[in-house]
C-alpha cells in the first residue's frame, strides 16, 4: 500500500510551513491589531478548531476575503477558504438584520427598482443615513448606488431578436449591479460584443452570484442561488456559448467559491466562465477580431487590480486590453486592496479599517492624475470614487467609448 505520498487536508491547511508571508500581504492585519492575520486565523487556528470548535475566534469576521493571502502563499494553502469555512461552520450567531439586507441584493434590488426615484431620494437624505448608521449599523459615509427604474434584464428583452440574429453568441452574466443599478455597463458590453460579431444572450435564469450572502453567512440561500446559476450556465455551455461577466467578483465567486465554500460542483463548466475583458483580449490577441478606434480619442488612465482579479491572475488581461487603445496614456499603479470588500466596508464597525486599508491605493491614484481609473469590480469603483473623487469605469466601458462601432463592425465583416 502506498502511503504518505502526499499530504491531503481540507483546503490544504497542512501544506502551511508557517513562513508568514500571507500575514505580510494581508491588508487587514496591517491596519487592525484585533485581527490575528491569515496565518493564525487560518491554518494555525484550524488545528485548534479541529480540537474543539470553541476555539473559534470571533475576530475572523474582520477577514475581507480578498484572498491576497492565497496569492502570496508559496504552498497553495487555501487560507482565505479556511477562514471563510470556519466563519460559516463555527460562528453560531444569527446574521443581523443589516447583514441580511446587505446580502439580499436580488430582493433589495427588485423592491428598490420598482420605486427607484423615491428610494434614490431617500437613500441620499442625511436623516435617513443617520438612522441607517445608528439603527442598522450601515456607515453614514457610504452612499448606496442609485437604483434604476428599468432593469437591464427588461432592456435586454427588447433586444432579444437582434441578439438572436448573430451567428456567434455569448451568454452574459450581468450581475445585480448592472441589473438594478447601472444598466449602462451592460449596454456597453452589448455594444462592444456586438461590434466584434457576438450576440449577447441572458442566462435562462440568473440570481446574485452569492458573494454577499457568503460573506454574511446566509449559506443555505447562497447555495440555492449558486445551484440555480450553475444549472443555467450548464445549459448555456451545452448550447455552445461561453459565459462572461463584467464583474470580477461575480466571476471569481462562480468559478472558485462555489466548489470551495458552498460545495456546489462546477468542474464541468468552470473553464467556460470568464470575464468580458479576458474574452475580448484573447479574441484580439489571437487576431480573431479587430477593433477600429475613434480618431482623436485621448485619455490618461490607470488600472486598479481588484483583489479577486489578482486571485484570478487576470489583471494583466484587463490592463493590456486598456493599453491596446491608441490614445490611452497608461499610468501603472501597484496592486493594492481598496478596502471595501463588498458589503464589508458598508458596516459601521469596519468603515475605519476599510479606509485605512485603501489609503495607500487612494494616494497612488491621486498621484497618478488620470482621467479614468479602470477596474473590473463595481464595489472597488464605489470605494475609489468615494475616497478619491476619481471617475472609475469598467474596461468594457472604456472600450465602448474608444471604439468606432460602425468601423469595427465593418472590420469584422458584420453588417
Amino acid at each position: 500500500m502506498e502511503y504518505q505520498v502526499k499530504n491531503i487536508s481540507a483546503n490544504d491547511f497542512e501544506q502551511c510551513i508557517k513562513c508568514t508571508i500571507c500575514t505580510v500581504y494581508c491588508p487587514v492585519a496591517a491596519v487592525n491589531t484585533a485581527y490575528p492575520g491569515p496565518k493564525q486565523a487560518g491554518p494555525d487556528g484550524e488545528r485548534y478548531r479541529l480540537k474543539n470548535p470553541e476555539f473559534y475566534n470571533n475576530a475572523l469576521k474582520y477577514c475581507l476575503n480578498c484572498k491576497r493571502c492565497e496569492v502570496s502563499c508559496p504552498n497553495n494553502v487555501r487560507i482565505g477558504d479556511i477562514i471563510q469555512t470556519a466563519r460559516i461552520r463555527y460562528d453560531k450567531s444569527a446574521p443581523k438584520l443589516r447583514d441580511r439586507m446587505l446580502a439580499s441584493t436580488d430582493f433589495m434590488g427588485k423592491v428598490a427598482t420598482k420605486m427607484a426615484p423615491v428610494v434614490n431620494l431617500m437613500l441620499g437624505f442625511s436623516p435617513v443615513k443617520a438612522t441607517m448608521h445608528g439603527v442598522l449599523g450601515i456607515d453614514r459615509h457610504r452612499t448606496f448606488p442609485r437604483y434604476t427604474s428599468t432593469t437591464f434584464e427588461k432592456w435586454m428583452r427588447t433586444k432579444a431578436p437582434s441578439q438572436a440574429a448573430f451567428s456567434k453568441k455569448v451568454a452574459y452574466f450581468h450581475g445585480c449591479y448592472v441589473n438594478y443599478n447601472y444598466p449602462q455597463l451592460g449596454k456597453d458590453v452589448v455594444t462592444v460584443l456586438n461590434a466584434v460579431g457576438y450576440g449577447v444572450q441572458l442566462l435562462e435564469k440568473e440570481r446574485c452570484c452569492g458573494v454577499a450572502k457568503i460573506s454574511n453567512r446566509l449559506i443555505d440561500s447562497a447555495k440555492e442561488d449558486a445551484q440555480l446559476n450553475i444549472d443555467s450556465i450548464r445549459k448555456a455551455v451545452k448550447a455552445g456559448m461561453e459565459v462572461v461577466g463584467a464583474s470580477s467578483t461575480c466571476i471569481f465567486t462562480m468559478r472558485d467559491e462555489y466548489p470551495h465554500l458552498l460545495g456546489v460542483d462546477n468542474a464541468d463548466v468552470r473553464d467556460d466562465i470568464s470575464l468580458v475583458s479576458v474574452f475580448l483580449y484573447k479574441l484580439i490577441d489571437s487576431g480573431k477580431v479587430k477593433l477600429a478606434f475613434k480618431p482623436g480619442f485621448r485619455c490618461r488612465v490607470t488600472y486598479h487590480t481588484p483583489c479577486h482579479m489578482q486571485k484570478l491572475g487576470w489583471g494583466i488581461y484587463s490592463s493590456s486590453l486598456v493599453r491596446m487603445i491608441p490614445g490611452v496614456e497608461f499610468e501603472p499603479i501597484d496592486s493594492l486592496c481598496c478596502g471595501i470588500a463588498g458589503t464589508y466596508g458598508f458596516k459601521k464597525e469596519n468603515y475605519p479599517y476599510s479606509q485605512a486599508i485603501g489609503k495607500e491605493l487612494f494616494d497612488q491614484i491621486e498621484r497618478a492624475r488620470v482621467d479614468y481609473v479602470v477596474t473590473d469590480c463595481e464595489t472597488c469603483k464605489w470605494q475609489i470614487e468615494m475616497s478619491t473623487g476619481a471617475t472609475v469605469i469598467n474596461p468594457v466601458s472604456l472600450l465602448a467609448m474608444a471604439i468606432d462601432v460602425e468601423a469595427t463592425k465593418k472590420l469584422n465583416g458584420i453588417k
Binding site: N7, I17, K18, T20, K39, Q40, R47, Y48, N57, A59
Partner: protein, 550 residues
C-alpha cells in the same frame, strides 16, 4: 527562581527523579507534613513520563492479560478526572475489531473489562463511525470504554507545584552522584549541579528512588542490584487532530494499535523492542519502526496515510524483574515498591518502580506509605486522591470563570492557555506586550512564557516547551524558538547562553523530524535551517556532546 535557592542541608525525604512518579511522591510526602527535596538530573518529565502516548487508560488494554493492572487503571482514571481535570480530556475510547482480527477476542475482552470494573459497552460499528469518523469504516466490531487523554507534562508540573505549595523544595538539573552513608544506612545524597558543576551534600532520613529506568543505576550506586529491562516504544505525532476519540485495536496488545488525540495533535503508537541497558540514553526511531507504525496505524484510521507527520520519538518503559524469580527474567507487571532494608540490608532507601503513568499516584501513595512506616509516622492519611492538583482547583476555577466572564471574546491563545494551565491561567499576565504571541502554532503568549519562567521552573527552551507546548506545533520551533530565546535571554540575563540554548533546541527539534523528514515536514525543516543556519549563522553556537561550547 526556586532552582537557584540554596536548599537547607537537611530533609526528611529526598525523592530522586521528577517524572510523574517522583513528583507525585514528593507531593504525597509533602502533604503528609514531611520536609521533602525533589531532585532531577535534567528536567521534569525528561524520561518515560514525557515520552508516551498521553493516554488516560481505562485499563481496558490490560483487562485480558493483567486484571490487576486493569483494576488499578480504572480506579486511577476516575481519580485523575477529579483531581487533574485540567490535564485530562474526556474523549472516550473505542476498541475496534478489524476484518482481519477475530470477533471472538471481543467477547473475552468485554468480559475481562467488566470483571475489572471497566464499563465496556459493545456498540454497533456504524455508531462507532458516528462517534469517531476517522475510524476505519470496514470495522466489524466496536466497544466503547472510558479512555481519555492526559497531558503528562501538565500532570507532572502540577504535582511538583503541589509539592512546592506544601513546603517541598525542587532542584532540577541536579544529579545524584553519590550517597552519604553511615554504616549500612543511607543518610543523604551528593548532588552535582549540571549548570555549575558544583557539588552539594544534602542529608536526609530516607531517599526514595523514583528514577524510572535510570533507577537501576541509583540502586547500584547504593550497593544493591535490581534487574531492569528497557523496552523501547516508538510513536509518531501527526500534525493535527485526526481523531477526537481514542481508537484502540481490539486484539492482543501489539504494535501501533492505539491512536490518541492529544491537545492539537494525534499520536500513533507504540512499538515495543528490548534494548541493551547501556542504550537507554540513546533513543532514536528507526525507519522500520516508522514503517510499522504507519502500516498498522492506517488500518485503524485510514487518513493517517496522508496526514502530515510532525515528528517521531521513542521512550523507554522501565520494566522491572520480579523479585520472586531467581532467573531475573520474569517481568513484574504491576507496581514494585522495594524497601531495601528488608531486601538488601540498606537502611533509609526505597525504590518505587514498575507501574505506569496511569498509576503514578498510586505508586506515590505506596512509596509515601512506606516512607511514613519507616519513619514511624502514624495517622498521616494519603490525601492525594481527594485534593485537586493546582490548576484543577474548583474554587480557583470560579475566580477564573468570573475573570473569563469579562472577556466576552476570548482569543484562541487565551482559551489555549486556559486549557493548559486550568485555573492557574488567571495568573498569566495580560496586556499589550504580554498578549503578543511567541508560539503561533500552539498559541503561547509572551505572558504565558513569563508565567512559566516565574512559576514553573523554566531554565531553558526545552523546559519552556514542556510547560507550555511552545515549539511543539507545526513549525517545530521554526518561528517561536528565537522569540522565546530572546525572552529567556532577557529574563536570565545572559544572551550568550540563550544563543547556545536556541541552537540546541533547534537541533533537538530536528532530531524528532529526521525520521519522518519527507513532504512538508522536510520543507519545514529546510525552511528552519535557512532561517537559523543560513540567515542567522546559528550553527556557530553548537554545544558538543560534552556540553562544552565550541
Amino acid at each position: 527562581m526556586t532552582d537557584h535557592i540554596k536548599p537547607p542541608k537537611r530533609y526528611d525525604v529526598v525523592v530522586i527523579g521528577a517524572g510523574a512518579t517522583g513528583a507525585g511522591t514528593a507531593r504525597d510526602c509533602a502533604m503528609r507534613g514531611l520536609k521533602v527535596l525533589l531532585v532531577e538530573r535534567l528536567d521534569f518529565t525528561a524520561g518515560a513520563t514525557g515520552r508516551n502516548h498521553g493516554l488516560l487508560h481505562s485499563g481496558a488494554r490490560y483487562a485480558v492479560t493483567d486484571g490487576e493492572s486493569a483494576t488499578e487503571c480504572i480506579k486511577e482514571n476516575m481519580i485523575l478526572r477529579r483531581i487533574a481535570a485540567h490535564c485530562v480530556e474526556e474523549t472516550g475510547g473505542l476498541f475496534v475489531t478489524l476484518p482481519e482480527d477475530s470477533l471472538d477476542y471481543q467477547k473475552t475482552f468485554v468480559e475481562s473489562c467488566l470483571r475489572a470494573g471497566i464499563n465496556a459497552e459493545v456498540i454497533d460499528p456504524a455508531e462507532a463511525l458516528r462517534l469517531e469518523p476517522a475510524v476505519n469504516p470496514d470495522i466489524i466490531g466496536a466497544v466503547k470504554v472510558p479512555d481519555g487523554a492526559v497531558d503528562p507534562f501538565r500532570l507532572t508540573t502540577a504535582n511538583a507545584l503541589a509539592a512546592r505549595q506544601n513546603g517541598a523544595d525542587i532542584l532540577t538539573y541536579h544529579e545524584v552522584v553519590d550517597f552519604i552513608r553511615s554504616g549500612n544506612r543511607i543518610c543523604g545524597v551528593v548532588l552535582r549541579d549540571h549548570h555549575t558543576g558544583e557539588l552539594t551534600r544534602v542529608e536526609c532520613d530516607i531517599v526514595v528512588n523514583a528514577a524510572g529506568i535510570w533507577g537501576q543505576r541509583i540502586v547500584e550506586m547504593a550497593g544493591a542490584k535490581i534487574n531492569m529491562f528497557p523496552a523501547k516504544g516508538a510513536l509518531l505525532i501527526f500534525g493535527h487532530r485526526v481523531n477526537n476519540v481514542v481508537i484502540n485495536r481490539c486484539r492482543k496488545p501489539a504494535d501501533a494499535d492505539i491512536l490518541v488525540p492529544g491537545d492539537t495533535i494525534s499520536l500513533i503508537g507504540t512499538t515495543s523492542s528490548r534494548i541493551p541497558y547501556d542504550q537507554i540514553d540513546n533513543m532514536t526511531v528507526t525507519p522500520e519502526e516508522v514503517d510499522v507504525l504507519l502500516r498498522e496505524g492506517i488500518k485503524i484510521a485510514p487518513s493517517l496515510a496522508y496526514t502530515r507527520i510532525l515528528r517521531a520519538y521513542a521512550g523507554v518503559r522501565p520494566l522491572i524483574a520480579s523479585d520472586d524469580d531467581p532467573s531475573g527474567r520474569s517481568i513484574s507487571r504491576g507496581i514494585v515498591c522495594l524497601d531495601h532494608a528488608v531486601r538488601d540490608g540498606i537502611e533509609g532507601f526505597v525504590t518505587i518502580s514498575g507501574g505506569k503513568l496511569m498509576t503514578y499516584r498510586l505508586m506515590a501513595e505506596w512509596a509515601a506509605d512506606m516512607v511514613c512506616k519507616k519513619l514511624g509516622i502514624e495517622g498521616k492519611k494519603c490525601m492525594t486522591a481527594e485534593i485537586p492538583l493546582p490548576g484543577s482547583d474548583s474554587s480557583d476555577s470560579k475566580e477564573a470563570h468570573s475573570r473569563k466572564h469579562h472577556i466576552i471574546d476570548m482569543s484562541t491563545d487565551q482559551r489555549a492557555a486556559e486549557g493548559r494551565h486550568g485555573s492557574l491561567s488567571s495568573e498569566i499576565p495580560t496586556g499589550d506586550v504580554d498578549d503578543a504571541l511567541v508560539c503561533e502554532c500552539e498559541a503561547v503568549s509572551v505572558g504565558e512564557v513569563n508565567f512559566a519562567i516565574d512559576k514553573l521552573h523554566v531554565n531553558n527552551l526545552i523546559n519552556l516547551r514542556r510547560r507550555t507546548r511552545m515549539g511543539m506545533g507545526t513549525c517545530q520551533g521554526g518561528l517561536c524558538a528565537c522569540r522565546a530565546a530572546a525572552i529567556l535571554g532577557d529574563r536570565l540575563n545572559c544572551q550568550q547562553k540563550a544563543l547556545y540554548d536556541l541552537a540546541s533546541f533547534v537541533n533537538e527539534r530536528w532530531k524528532g523530524m529526521k525520521p519522518v523528514a519527507w513532504g512538508q515536514t522536510l520543507v519545514e525543516a529546510q525552511f528552519t535551517s535557512w532561517l537559523y543556519e543560513g540567515m542567522c549563522g546559528l550553527d556557530r553556537y553548537q554545544n558538543n556532546e560534552q556540553g562544552n561550547k565550541q
